[in-house]
Amino acid sequence: KGNKKKKKTEELKKELDLDDHRLSTSELEKKYGTSINKGLSSARAAEILARDGPNSLTPPKATPEIVKFLKQMVGGFSILLWIGAVFSWISFGIQLAQGAESPFDNLYLGVVLALVVILTGIFAYYQEAKSTNIMASFSKMIPQQALVIRDAEKKELPADQLVVGDIVEIKGGDRIPADIRLISAQGCKVDNSSLTGESEPQSRSCDFTHENPLETKNIAFYSTTCVEGTATGIVINTGDRTIIGRIASLASGVGNEKTPIAIEIEHFVYMVAGVAISIGVLFFIISVSMRYKILDSIIFLIGIIVANVPEGLLATVTVSLSLTAKRMAKKNCLVKNLEAVETLGSTSIICSDKTGTLTQNRMTVAHLWFDNQIYSADTSEDQTTQPFDQSSPSWAALSKIVTLCNRAEFRPGQENLPIMKRVVVGDASETALLKFSEVILGDVMNIRAQNKKVAEIPFNSTNKFQLSIHETDDPNDKRFLLVMKGAPERILERCSTIMINGKEEPLDSEKAEAFQTAYMELGGMGERVLGFCHLYLPENEFPDTYQFDTDTMNFPTSNLCFVGLLSMIDPPRSTVPDAVSKCRSAGIKVIMVTGDHPITAKAIAKSVGIISATSETVEDIAKRLNIPVEQVNRREATAAVVNGMELKDMNSEQLDEILCNHSEIVFARTSPQQKLIIVEGCQRQGAVVAVTGDGVNDSPALKKADIGIAMGIAGSDAAKNAADMVLLDDNFASIVTGVEEGRLIFDNLKKTIAYTLTKNIAELCPFLIYIIASIPMPIGTITILFIDLGTDIIPSVALAYEKAESDIMNRRPRNKRRDRLVNHQLAVYSYLQIGIMQSVGAFVTYFTVYAEQGFLPSTLLGVRVNWESNAINDFEDSYGQQWTKYQRTYLQWTGYTAFFVSITIQQVADLIIRKTRRNSIFRQGLFKNKVIWVGIFSQIGIALILTYGLGHVTALNFTPLRFQYWFVAVPFAILIWVYDEFRKLLIRRYPGSWWDKNMYY
């Protein structure tokens, strides 16, 4: 069955197999039994609808809520506690049948245990229910209505009624209702960003332009948007058979991997459960062989289980994670799946998109070339001036062309916004030029008004230039100014002169050479280059009454004067280079995966540091050594730029080799599905992979990744749903802050767990000593629950607020096999050292209380049977006084309370020492984390309430305690602190030593 599923996934991963784009209209009509003019008949449509089903995506089978809920009820420690509860009820039943005097204690204990399980289960279930269902947004994306031709009539139909063969009409603003083969189109452009991630609208026509159905122009895809124009097409795929449907089922088919922290917690649960069960069973055997009654032994077993299981811990972990999630949300990382918080911290590879994540997602002028010189422009997000030399008269001419030969305009009413933030009507490069000139020259619209436009030829793909003719703003100059911009080589062809320092000079071969060099250099930087030229039309030939006709072109378009080049790029965000270098020092490999051109991708990768300045690709080495690419030793190249076409032909070994051998990798021109292949390749290396994405096409990769990161602004809903995390500002740098938080929470969870585990020993020892030495019971099961779920909860959450001890961004990501959350050092140090100290402290308090009330330690040994006997009401103490059963029981409860108070007091010390694992507490600052103090006060406050407030409620087994007993364990608390400082001191002093290896957790 698993194989079948795998096969299905493999099939889906293959590129799309579709041939409708190759067929002619008549062939299509024949294939789908339809007519372009009349459409399908209603009857036929109904037939097909019955065959194919409605045109909607089938939601995946969801796990029933009740199953999810029950899973929470038996997961983790719950099963152990259930066993405890069942044992309690069994012993209650036996005692009730035997007619014992107080069997209800066990009933209550069972109920309390069950309640603990149910409450923590509900809590966990609630947390999980918050995670949203991926398919929800797919269904939201389905268009509501579609204009269909049926029975030779145009009809509005609900889109889910569409069938294959229907003729639909779409217009600008519509969502495409199904996969459509276009049969006629007028200026139609579609936004495929939800599918391919490319944000630029793509024109659609009825021509077959590419073998690949995803690239050909005559197919429009379900769920994408028609931006402008109109089109008519035949529906070729509906519902789940559409491209988006396949991707959706791919996304739900790709299993959600267990997060690293989930694995760690599972490991921890197994460990603690193992300890609990083995100690429990061991002492069950011991107590049976010591001739305790089976029933008593079972009750001991329950006690041991309860003492061993940190009941509150899983809830604490959840709360700590959600606190971190909140903190990350403040830093623009919205975490959907709580456990992903930590995953981000253990990330070792980030596969990042380029557009929008690494870059600003807008074209910006990056370089200029005039007067035979290249100038760099400021490309930062909030530029207000441009620093390059603007004194040359050539610049004045160039700026005029840039300003005038431009159809883009600001939307009105944005005068108060910074220029870079204003909304522009026009395409990307015109927008860039408009903003550029607005920054330098000021009010562009005014300049344009002063230089009235008299004629214009907009840009088109055949002539590849844009031209306009203006009156000049100099009232004495009656000449017209012809300005032109376009592809540099085309512009140069039309020029006979070139402007150098404001003077027109003949364009000789030397100057043409200079132009070529500059053009190549700018192009080599991955920038889009435009050439600019102008011509003042002679006044005698073109008087101010001259009628320009753009169709006949009754004006010169050659022998113009070349002025300069401007090159544009979507520049990197200014915070990104820093973030990339942070990743690098944190041992995280950043891989760029983009649909863009390799040259552009490489240029951006270089400028943000994904490819560092010194490293070379195989091609670079080949170029430098002047040898063919094949002869280059591939090992020498640290960087690699891999084209999607190459990737397509690679098998997984080859991909692995690339991922292994190169530290700096850029994947360019990658298709939607390839991202998934790359992610899987990285995961084969054992890496924890974070993937960013925004389009619908990214959702399988986002799901497959250990942590999927969707873009909040540019991202589609599907991507956001598939992701574990949403970047609200689309900024790569936010990921890095997320990584930092993730690493911090891992460290802090370690501290929380160490803190929580420690007192388990102090809770467990009483049982063991009770069984072996037969002393009166030092602490009750209910009391233990009050520690685990009462006093200890807030302090353990408070550790989540602890600041990092050192620069956590300067160490490598944790190895998910070796660096466990709960390693043996942590367990051993907590259990066998600090835990033992706590137990000793608590026992001293216990013996003190009993001694001062009349039972000296020596009299306590071996008294269990008589002590607990209901038939002895004149039990003698060390002073010859005689005690009734109830008086003894009450003393026993006082003992519980004293033991409880001692553990609480020593847990305060434990909390303080857990603030750091290596550094001295004094270096970390005792008062920096205020929440710790809230924790300490809450701990003591709850203990005070329990002892003095609820001390008279018999069922809780607390009694008011003499004040001085609160201080008996204080020396031990201090000892714990001093001992741990000593431990940390030796760890710092002798790194790598035996001590460091055994004592550092």
Binding site: E257, G880, K885
Partner: protein
């Protein structure tokens, strides 16, 4: 993650475990080299020796602060508990059932009383002095031998008809059984505030006729000269004063609930949680 979740076969697991226990290649035993094990064991040995020493020191210090004569606090011993002899406990407290005509049913009870009273023979009491004052026997100094305080004699003959001397069967065969009521010792407890506390036995439920009881010593009082008790170290030979009660009109074949309270200032018997504080309740059924 896939690599971590690989399902291992049982034999692989066993092999891994064997390698974990002893890896001949790396010479690691349970993940440590042998010398490392020695070190870690030595460390823990030292650690636990120190911890035990610390514990011993704490207990020693505790013992030096403890007064050997009287406890520091008597928080739970505000009012003495009361016990009954013979004491036969059923699942719901004291239950004394016997059959007059079947001596096997009451012989055990009689033996229990005799055993209990062996501590009250003149021989057992020979260290104690005869007291005649009907006031508290307050001793501020150690007047007894070996730095002890004196205790007053209580001999079983003071229980007269219930002493087991005149009637070795304690009236059990006649259906008029004797029971001995004992008040628990509490160090430096002054019961009754100057008047001797006395035992008063009644039916718990209202019966149609009152319970007829003979109390020994007379009036069922605990003489004040047995109080206060100065503790085991000061009064090693001290024995509790007793009151015997003889029920005279027990209806046969009926389970009766009887309560014997100790009446006296400072003795409370209304603690709902403690059925033996200041009183003793029991069920009595005499069959024939």
């Amino acid at each position: 993650m896939a690599t971590l979740n690989e399902k291992k076969t049982c034999s692989e697991r066993m092999e891994n475990f064997r390698l974990f226990v002893w890896n001949p290649e790396t010479k690691l035993c349970m993940g440590r080299s042998l010398i490392n094990w020695v070190w870690i064991i030595l460390y823990y040995l030292a650690f636990y020796v120190v911890m035990s020493g610390l514990f011993a020191l704490c207990i020693y210090t505790l013992m030096t602060t403890i007064n050997p004569y009287e406890p520091d606090y008597q928080d739970q011993l505000k009012s003495p508990g009361v016990t009954l002899r013979p004491d036969v406990y059923g699942s719901r407290g004291l239950q004394i059932y016997y059959n007059v005509s079947d001596n096997r049913t009451w012989e055990g009870l009689v033996t229990a009383l005799h055993t209990f009273l062996t501590e009250y023979t003149p021989a057992a009491q020979h260290l104690n002095i005869n007291c005649t004052n009907n006031t508290y026997f307050i001793q501020d100094t150690f007047d007894g031998p070996n730095k002890t305080k004196l205790s007053c004699k209580f001999t079983s003959d003071m229980l007269q008809n219930c002493s087991g001397i005149t009637d070795p069967t304690f009236g059990f065969p006649e259906g008029k059984p004797c029971f001995i009521v004992k008040m628990n010792r509490i160090v430096k407890f002054f019961p009754g505030n100057g008047t001797a506390p006395r035992v008063n036995c009644t039916y718990v439920d209202k019966e149609s006729y009152p319970l007829e009881v003979d109390y020994y010593p007379r009036n069922g009082t605990f003489n004040l000269h047995y109080f206060p008790y100065y503790g085991k170290k000061a009064q090693p030979s001290y024995s509790n004063p007793l009151v015997a009660v003889k029920f005279l009109n027990i209806t046969r074949n009926v389970e009766l609930k009887i309560v014997c309270r100790i009446i006296g200032a400072g003795i409370t018997f209304d603690n709902v949680h403690d059925p033996y504080e200041g009183k003793v309740e029991f069920k009595l059924k005499i069959e024939d």
